[in-house]
Structure formats: C-alpha cells, structure tokens
C-alpha cells in the first residue's frame, strides 16, 4: 500500500521528487495529479464525465447540473473554464456523451439535453427512457450511463435504505437492485439483478458490461461484476420483482439466503484496504500514453480517495483478474474517464458518502513518462501465476520472496465480511525469464473460489527501484485446468443473529399504553402519548424527549410512587431506560428488598434517557450485573452492591409478592420517567421430556379447518389468509404441557388453543392468545382468552420470535392453566367450572393479513 505523503498536485517536478526520495518512488513521479476546481462559490459533486468529439469535457453532478469545460486539457488547470450547461435535473449520476450529443441519467429518467437556441445553455430536456420507478426513498440513486454500439443504454438502480436497519438494502419499487437496459426505442427492460449499491456501470471497448457494487449486506467487499443478462449477483432484495418470484408470491428474506437461486461470481473482489466505496471504471485505450498499462481498467475509489488498477482476464468463459493499488491522494474519486490524449480525469464527490481528500471538482492524472516499477500483468497459468514487470528485475527472485495466501468471504446479511479462512500457499518454484521481466510462480494447492493475495518482498528492479505496489489480489474463480468451478469466493454461511433475534427472550412490561403488567402502580401513570420531558434542571417532568413512557411521582405526603410487576420471577435480567430531573432518585427492587438506587447527580446525568441493565440472582440474592448508560459497574458475579433493606423503611408498603419469586418493583422517590421496562428469565430451565408435534417438513399429524392457508416453508409452519384452524389429529389432550416457538407480523392475530372441539368455533376450547394487533383486539399475547386479560403488548416487537408455553391440568379446585411467555409466568388460572374437559390442540389463523410462523411445537 502506498504511504506516500500527500503531495500538492501538479506543482512538483517529477525528477526533483525522484532525487528527493531514496526509499520507494512516490506515485506523483509517475502520475501527476492536478485539480480542476469549479467556479468559486459553486460545487461540482461529480456523477458523470464524458468528452465531446470536439474535446470538451461534460460533467454531470449530484446537484442535477451539467457543466461543460471547454478546454479541460489546458496546461494551467486554473485556466479551465467551467460553463453551466443545464440545471434543475434530478441528480446526474450517469452521463453519456457521443459526438456533441449529451444524455444524462436523472433519478427518474434518461434524458437528452439540447440547446435549441445556441446560447450555450440546454433549454430542452427530452425524455429518452422513463419513468424509472421510485418509491421516494432517499437512497434510490440511478447510476450509468454507458451506451452500446447498437444504441442501448445500461443503468443500475440502487436499493432503498430504510431507517430501522438503515444500511440494509430494500427493493421498495420495481427494479431497485437491478441493471436495466434502455433500448433505442425507449423501453426500459430488466437485465440482471442482485445488486445493492451499483455505483459504476461501464462497458468495455468490446461492449462487455461490467457493474461495480459496494460493500454492505450480501456484498462482502466492493466488487466488479461481469453482468450477464438474467444473472443474479448476490443481494436478494431485487429478486422480489423477478417473474417467478412474483408468480409464487415469494418475498426475499432480509437475513436468510434465498434458496434455489444461481449466483454469479464477482469478476473481482476489491479487498477492504484497497476499496471501501467503488465508483465506475475506465478502460485505458490510450495505447501507452497513460503509461505501461494499456488495455487495463482504472477504477474510481471514493472513501480512500484513490484510483485503482484492475486487470481482467477470461478463463474458460469466466471473468476474473487482479486488483492493484494505483494512485493515492487523488480525492474522493467517483467517476473516471479518459481524455482523447490519454489523460485520466477523475470526478470527485463525498458528501454524505464518506471520502478522502478533495470533496468535489475534478482531478486530472497525467503520465509523466516515467513508468513505475510495478507488476504490469499478473495472469493465471496452470498451477500458478505469471508475473510481467514493467522493468527487468535486479536478480532472479527466490520463492521465499513471494508470500501467497488464499481467502474467501461470507455471503450474509451483515455489513461486509472479514477475509475468512486464510490459507497460506507454498511457492514451489519461481521461474524467471531470460530478460528478467517475467516470473512464473508454481504454487502448491492453488484452488479456485478464493481470492489469491500475493505479496513480493524486497523485490527491486535493475535500476534499484522497489516494487510498487508489492501486492496483488487475484480473484480466482476458475482454473485453466480442472473441472468448471462451482465454489464461489463469497460462501454461504448460516445467517448471523439479527437485530430481531437480539430482541428475543424478553417480556415487555410496558408498551406505552397500559400498566396492567403491574399489580400496583401507586403514583404511576402511563403517559399514553408522547410527552416532552425537560432538559432543564427542574424537579418536574412536565414539559421534556420521549414517547411511551410511564411517569412516576411521589404523592403530596412524600410517599414514593410504587410500581410492582404482575409476574413473579426468580433469576431475572431487567432492562429499562430512566429519565431523571434534578435530584431525581429511582430504585429497582427484587423480592421487595434487594436492589439498587440510581440517583441523579454529577454521575448520572439529568435531563436525558439513561439505559439501565440489571441481572438479579437468587441463593444468595444478589445483583450479578449492573450496567448504566452502557457502562458496566459490576464485573464479578457475587460482589454485593446492595444490601438487604426492608422496603418499609422507604415509606412504601411491603410488597405482596415478596419471596423467592418476588416480582420486580420500581420505586420513584422523585418524579421519574420510565420506558422500555423489560425482563428476561435467567432461571434454569427444565428441558426434559419434550416431544415434537411438528416434523419440520410436513403437516403430518395436523388437520386444517376453515379457509386459512397453512404451509410449511423453510422449516416453519406458516399460517396466512382467511380465518381457520390447524388442529392436531389427536383430540384427547387433557393434562399436558405444550409450547411453541412463534412469531407474528404487525397487526397479526393467532392463538394456541387447547382442549378444543374440532371445527371452526372459536369459543369451544381454551385459548392462549397470540396477538400483535395494536388496537383492534385488546387481548394481547399471553392472555388466557376470556379469562385472564393482558392488555400490555408483552412481546417486544413485530416478527420477533418468542416461546409460549401452556400447562393444563385437572386439579382439585378446577382446571389449572398456566401460561409462560419466554419462561416468565404470565397467567396462573383455575377454571372452577371446568368448561372444557379435553380436546384438540390447535393454532388459529385469525384474519387475512395476519401471518403467524411456528418454528417448533412440542409437548410433554
């Protein structure tokens, strides 16, 4: 990697630099970089570059402007004149210039710009193809705009990014995540998909289409794809619009790899330290005027502010090749384009995207005539690679001078992938040509489906120059010998934990509407609507930021406000956010006596939300973890931070549920706001004796009534459509426990019935409720329908997996029914009437629009 100091562009004499640098040759000695600034007070955030036949440079920008530079090659870059040719466009992230004809890619269409009255300003914007569908999401950029000899344009459409998991790409309108072909008659045709943020769309001199994509979800590193019609390139979101997916009603998962889809390998993976955001490509057709790399490809790199050199080759119909560092300190390069004289122009921008160096304007890279000592070409050979150097070597290199490793990436929903499975390869022999410009390396166990990293150590040219850069990363998809390779560099791995998974296991005691998850709430009320909490240092919480909070305050006599959870528990984790005014004090108590007090002061800030995480264990009662504002205050289990103290001393009554399974209490000694109070059971579980009722692939043992659709997909039972039930065939369930791992969509409603009569009567059986409809039905998940009402939304989110366990048994007093939600006992009920003596188990499909997924069903 170049560590050359940042050089003032264009002003330094190459020979002086050569003389000044003894160790390594700076890039400026070979490629001089000059900067073309737009007129003072204006910005040119470049989205497209192109030359007219008369040698003018046309520049489209993210501002929706098009500039024309009449003399872009002027010796003094400060003399280059910028003329505003068009404005008011909706971005311009693609440009095509042929002859004097200018096409620009706006976010919503391809347009031709025409100056009808010859005053130097485009006054006519003609729609050539469009409209391009848009959802209105901010990130729906359109990139392009090369044109084939037959007159088709190619463009690529960025996915939308949603605020919740904001870098997770979503295809919110047709063809987002696709490459499109705009035919000469103006039709926009889908061409290929699987792209995420395909910022560079380029055609080779032979009209082969290459598209770059940017690291993110499903894109483990920045990549260059050779795009074939109909290809899928890795990001599943765009599959949504594929005809087969539409016909089948399939929706790509954001986290689970799509099954049964052929994935195209990247022609080139650009390692993270080489590229973090890649723009477009330019082929060097200057026949040597840009130095010794004629025919190779140069890529714009924004984040690291550089230009990369890529060398592509086709092995048995498979594109692959080598990526090199080329020229640093260029600025945030987004677009590259060769001038007719072999000068490389780089258009810069970095606003909102990240970048290095100059943030806008144009850089001009010119070959000084002094070629660097570099790997001119690296080509795959049977069993190894052939290196061609720009200069003869000082000596025949020894095998230990070449370090070779192969690595792969994970193809997953997470942002990018580290380099995985690095495998050093033994260099068996190095064979040097007589002119000492070519070296063939024979490697042991060279495998396709890996990026091959090769680093030369202490390699010098005959003139004493050090090799720059010493490293090449060769994406090896296919060997010359051996069978066609099916292993991709980016390998499918089990999906890592999602954000929703991290939300699993909790029971929310607050949902912003109800306080019925508490048996006592003296002095507390649920705000019910957004309230403003003060940042000011008052003792009141009348006026201050947040929603869905409970407000507690002591009464006029100073008696603290008391909130006691309805559900007993033993060992438990607690999560909450608290907001304190000046001098605010709040306690979290377990078993009515053990706990911790948090107090505003120099340490716990007032006027802002602070997250509190506690873990409480019994035998002996103690806190084993305490984090406030993310800082850990208890490192070791067993350290006692809070001593026993009878609650009576704080002025509140003894709690009802005091004891080993005593519930959580929150005591407000001053006004306090509380939100997101959640608990998670840490108690050991008895997992003995469970037997499955679902085989993971079929509905064997189950019977459907009603019109609901019950299917097994990806190992889960999915219930959708109109109302209906999925019954166990067995109808003699009497004393039993059964549990299911379930999730339900926003607004969804289902239920776990037991001792149910076969058929569609909703009221002939007990029901443990499953319900994420917010308003329609006040009976929420965990309720025993018509018997024990829970209005609070105890499940922590839509589509969050939870486990609901039901125990039903005839006892002396009646039928005892207990319901655990994520192993927190939420209902303990005795039906003295013994309404239902025995029956089926069943899941309910409540209404069209509701979707329940059941991952496992077990009984004991």
């Amino acid at each position: 990697m170049s560590q050359a100091p940042a050089l003032a562009c264009g002003l330094l004499c190459a020979t002086a630099l050569l003389a000044a640098q003894s160790n390594g040759v700076p890039e400026a000695a070979h490629y001089r970089c000059e900067y073309l600034a737009p007129p003072a007070g204006t910005f040119a955030e470049v989205g497209g570059l192109g030359f007219t036949a008369s040698g003018r440079l046309v520049v489209s920008t993210r501002f929706g402007q098009v500039w024309i530079l009449d003399d872009p090659l002027a010796a003094d870059p400060a003399q280059v004149r910028w003329r505003l040719y068009a404005e008011g466009l909706h971005e311009g992230l693609g440009l095509h210039v042929a002859g004097e004809e200018i096409h620009v890619l706006q976010r919503g269409e391809i347009s031709r710009l025409i100056d009808t009255d010859g005053d130097g300003r485009a006054d006519l914007v003609r729609t050539v193809a469009g409209p391009i569908a848009l959802s209105g999401n901010y990130h729906e950029f359109a990139f392009g705009l090369p044109r084939t000899r037959t007159g088709s344009f190619f463009l690529a459409l960025n996915l939308g990014f949603l605020p919740e998991t904001w870098w997770l790409g979503s295809s919110l309108a047709p063809w987002r995540g696709w490459v499109l072909e705009a035919t000469p008659d103006g039709a926009l045709l889908p061409y290929a998909t699987g792209l995420r943020s395909p910022d560079g769309v380029s055609l080779s001199p032979q009209d082969e289409l290459f598209v770059t994509d940017n690291q993110g979800d499903w894109v483990p590193a920045c990549a260059v794809f050779a795009v074939r019609k109909g290809g899928f390139h890795g990001h599943p979101a765009g599959l949504l619009w594929q005809r087969e997916w539409q016909a089948a009603g399939r929706v790509p998962s954001q986290t689970v790899p799509p099954a049964g889809v052929q994935r195209e390998p990247a022609a080139l993976w650009l390692p993270y330290d080489l590229s973090r955001s890649v723009g477009d490509l330019a082929w060097d057709t200057s026949a040597g005027r840009f130095g010794p790399f004629a025919g190779q490809v140069f890529a714009a790199e924004l984040t690291l502010g550089r230009v990369l050199r890529l060398q592509l080759e086709r092995v048995r119909d498979q594109w692959q090749g080598a990526a090199f560092a080329f020229r640093d300190d260029v600025g945030s390069a987004h677009r590259v384009c060769f001038a007719p004289d072999g000068t490389l122009f780089a258009g810069l921008t970095n606003r909102g995207w990240g970048g290095a160096g100059k943030a806008h304007g144009i850089a001009r890279l010119r070959f000084t005539g002094v070629a660097p000592f570099a790997m001119q070409r690296v080509e795959l050979r049977p069993g190894g690679f052939a290196f061609t150097f720009t200069e003869p070597l000082a000596a025949d290199p020894r095998p230990e001078q070449l370090e070779v490793t192969q690595y792969e990436y994970a193809w997953w929903w997470k942002y990018g992938s580290p380099e995985l499975g690095a495998r050093p390869l033994r260099v068996r022999t190095l064979e040097t040509s007589l002119d000492q410009r070519r070296v063939t390396a024979h490697l042991d166990d060279l495998r396709p489906g890996y990026v091959t990293r090769m680093v030369w150590k202490d390699l010098r040219s005959r003139t004493g120059a050090a090799l720059r850069p010493p490293r090449v990363d060769y994406t090896l998809n296919q060997l010359h010998d051996g069978p066609p390779n099916a292993k991709p560099v980016a390998v499918e791995v089990p999906p890592p934990q999602t954000r929703q998974e991290a939300a699993e296991g909790w029971v929310a005691l607050q949902d912003g509407r109800n306080l019925d998850a508490f048996t006592r709430r003296d002095g507390w009320r649920e705000a019910g609507e957004p309230v403003t909490l003060p940042r000011a240092a008052t003792q009141q919480l009348e006026s201050a930021p947040g929603t869905q909070v409970a407000l507690g305050a002591p009464d006029a006599a100073g008696k603290p406000a008391l909130l006691v959870a309805r559900f007993p528990h033993a060992e438990v984790a607690v999560h909450a956010a608290v907001f304190l005014p000046r001098d605010g004090r709040v306690e979290f108590l377990f078993q009515g006596r053990h706990g911790v007090e948090l107090r505003e002061g120099a340490d716990l800030p007032k006027g802002e939300w602070v997250e509190v995480d506690l873990e409480f264990r019994t035998a002996p009662p103690r806190l084993t973890s305490l984090r406030v504002g993310g800082k850990r205050f208890l490192q070791q289990e067993g350290r006692v931070v809070a001593r026993d103290r009878a609650l009576a001393r704080s002025g509140a009554a003894i709690l009802d549920g005091e004891g080993a399974d005593g519930p959580l209490a929150v005591v407000a000694h001053t006004p306090v706001a509380l939100r997101d109070l959640q608990i998670r059971s840490l108690a050991p579980r008895d997992e003995r004796g469970w037997k499955p009722l679902f085989d993971g692939t079929t509905l064997a043992g189950w019977k459907v009534t009603g019109a609901g659709r019950w299917q097994v997909r990806e190992g889960r039972i999915v219930g959708e459509g109109p109302p209906g039930y999925l019954h166990t065939e067995r109808g003699d369930w009497k004393d039993f426990e059964w549990r299911a791992r379930v999730r339900i969509n926003h607004g969804g409603n289902s239920g776990m019935y037991f001792r149910k009569t076969f058929g569609d009567d909703a009221f002939k059986g007990y029901e443990a409720q499953i319900n994420r409809s917010m308003a329609a039905d006040p009976v929420k998940t965990g309720s025993l329908y018509r018997r024990e009402l829970l209005k609070t939304q105890l499940v922590t989110g839509d589509d969050v997996w939870f486990t609901q366990r039901v125990a039903c048994r005839d006892e002396a007093q009646g039928v005892r029914i207990r319901i655990w939600l994520n192993e927190i006992l939420v209902v303990d009920h005795v039906d003295r009437e013994r309404a239902f003596p025995f029956g089926h188990l069943a899941f309910q499909q409540h209404h069209d629009g509701s979707r329940v997924e059941i991952a496992s069903v077990e009984h004991r």
Binding site: F43, E45, R62, G64, G88, L89, H90, E91, Q106, R107, G108, D123, T127, G130, P131, A133, S135, G136, N137, Y138, E140, G160, W166, W167, A173, Y272, R276, S277, T303, N350, R351, G352, W353, G354, G355, A356, A359, Y415, G416, P418, P496, R535, A537, R582, D583, V596, E597, L598, G601, A602, L604, P605, G607, E608, W609, G629, G630, K631, V641, R643
Partner: protein, 373 residues
Amino acid sequence: MRIALLVLAGSLAAQEPAPAPDGKALYLAHCATCHGNEGRGDGPTRVDPRPRDLSSGLFVFGNTRDAIHKTILGGIQPAMPAFESVLGEAMRQAVVDHVLTLMPETIEASEAQSRMAVGSHAVVVRGHLPATREQRFALGHGLVIGVPGGFTAEYRSDDVRYLGTYAGGFLDRTDWRGRGGTPLRLLGQPLHLESGRLPAAPFRTGQNVPLAARLTATAVRGPAAVLEYELRSENGATEARVQETLRALDRPPLRGLVREVRITGTGGGGFAGLFLPPGTPQGGKVLEERTVPERESLRHWRVVAQRHAGQDQDLWLAVRIEGAARGAADAFPGTGLLPFATGSDLARIRILIATSGDAGVAARAAVAEELER
C-alpha cells in the same frame, strides 16, 4: 463518568449540577480504543474490518452530522457496536460534535446555496416532492416550474399531473445537503392545491376512461416553460400529443399563472376526449359557465372564484376550451368533465390560476380578457 450507585441505606451525597456531556471525554472513553485518540483508526483494539480513520473523513456511512449520529446509534456490523443503549442522546450529540472536529473539511451546500430563485427566465426543476398524506416516502417524480413574478406550479412528472400552484419564493433543493435524496421544499405559499395534491387524471377518452400521460420533454422558452407529453389509451396507443405552456399572468389586479394546453390528435380523424378542469376548492363559487356554439365546435368558459376568509385575496380558477366537442357537453352530467375535440385543428385549453385583491368587477374583467387572449 462515574455513577451514583448508592447502597439503599446510604446517606444523601452532596448534589451538584450535571455539566453538559463532554464529547471529547466520551469519545476517549467509548471510541478511542478502536478509532484512536486522534481518530486515526489506530486504537489499541484490533477489529476486522479495521476501524475508520476519522481524521481523513473516511465515512462509508456518511460524514454528515445526521449520518454520524446514526452510525453511533446503530453501530456497524460486524465490528462497531451500537451505542443507542450506551450513550444518551445528549452524549451522542456531544460525541458527534467531537468526531466532526476530527475530520477534514467536507463540502456541503448551505441552505442559502441550495435555494433556487427565478429570474427573467422560467425555471424547470425535477426532484422528489413532499409526500402526500397516503405515502410513506417522498413523491418520487416531481416537476416544479417557476415563472417570473413569483408563481410556481407543481407537477408529478411520471404521469404529468398538476398538483398545485404556490405564490412567493421558489424552492430549496434540500437534496444538495446531507446524503441527498430528500424532497424539494417549495418556499411559496400554496395558492391552489388540486384535490389535496391527489389529482384525478385530467384527460379522459370520450367514454370517460382515464388516459395515461407520459412526459416527453420539458423546455424553457424565455419567461415561459413548456411541458410536452403524450396521452395514451389503456392499450398503450398514443392518442394525442399535448404541449402545455406555463407563463406568468400579470394583468392587474390579477396575478398568477396561465397554463396553455394544446392538444393534437395522432390518429387520422383527430381525437375527441374529456377534460377535467381544476376542482372547485372548498368555498369556491362558479361565477360563470357558458358554452358558445361556433361553426365547427364550441367554446366553453368556466370561472370559479374563492374568497379567502380573513385574507385580502381571492383565488381565481378559470378555464376556456376552444375546440369543445359539439353535442358532447352533457355526456357526463355532474362530473364537471368538459369535452374537447381535435380535427383539422388542435384543441386549446387555457387555465388561469390567479389571485386578485378582491373579486370585484376589475378582476372579473381581467379574467375574461385573459381567457380571450
């Protein structure tokens, strides 16, 4: 930061006011182990991928205040944790402040720079528009036309529908700031909004089937702007071409804009269709509606005025159709649809959207004159 972690029996400690969060201290406590004290990405903790070198502005996730805040809030998989539950809002903002001091200067248009104005020429601008009430995001395809004199017309461009007219300033190109992609902000006051910015298709077949409109060009002709679009039937056939010219209307006491619509049939026999004029706004009154027969076809007027309660201004909406189809006037009674036909000649529709100081005789005369122009 220490924390008040009191044993419950503990005495009250002396209280002191909390200082504003110290962004640098928070940065050093939470960020520097990876990003380094100076933000160079050289902290002692090694993570893969390597942490950003904040000092060089290398922010893949954006280098604006909002973007940095978002990154701190949600973290970046796989290496950077989310700080949503670690740092309070004030603390996060303080860290953002500090991170901004570590990075190099980046450019971002100021609001003054992103405001566009209209001079002596009309200006045509495309971009997202603020969402209508039914939408999740912005309106994707927007077209905003400013004419000299301070009046601005708003259209959807994907189906060429007029949304409204605004008086006053032109627009703020908010997508020149931040990460971009945000809607244009119209700076004028709404003068007339067509059906709450949810307009029905203005052009219909003679059977009242909506025609799809496809934009083919926009142009600036000095002080006037031109939209060209095609009207397509359900089967995709182009039935007619429309050229719509917008220009300022300045005939005291009337001020506003005029939309001059010229329709040419593409078939040999011309095209006969229906036009849905701007909807009468709430409180608007139809002052005049008449049809004048001519040799081949009809002329049709319709003038609507709306008194703005509590304001000195009246809104005038007036339509005149030249080339109205004979005998078809009552084809769809009660719908407000006006028939037009093109034959050897094109059909013209002139639409006035204007204000005046009052609904007096002078304004009404100016409307009539302008319709007759």
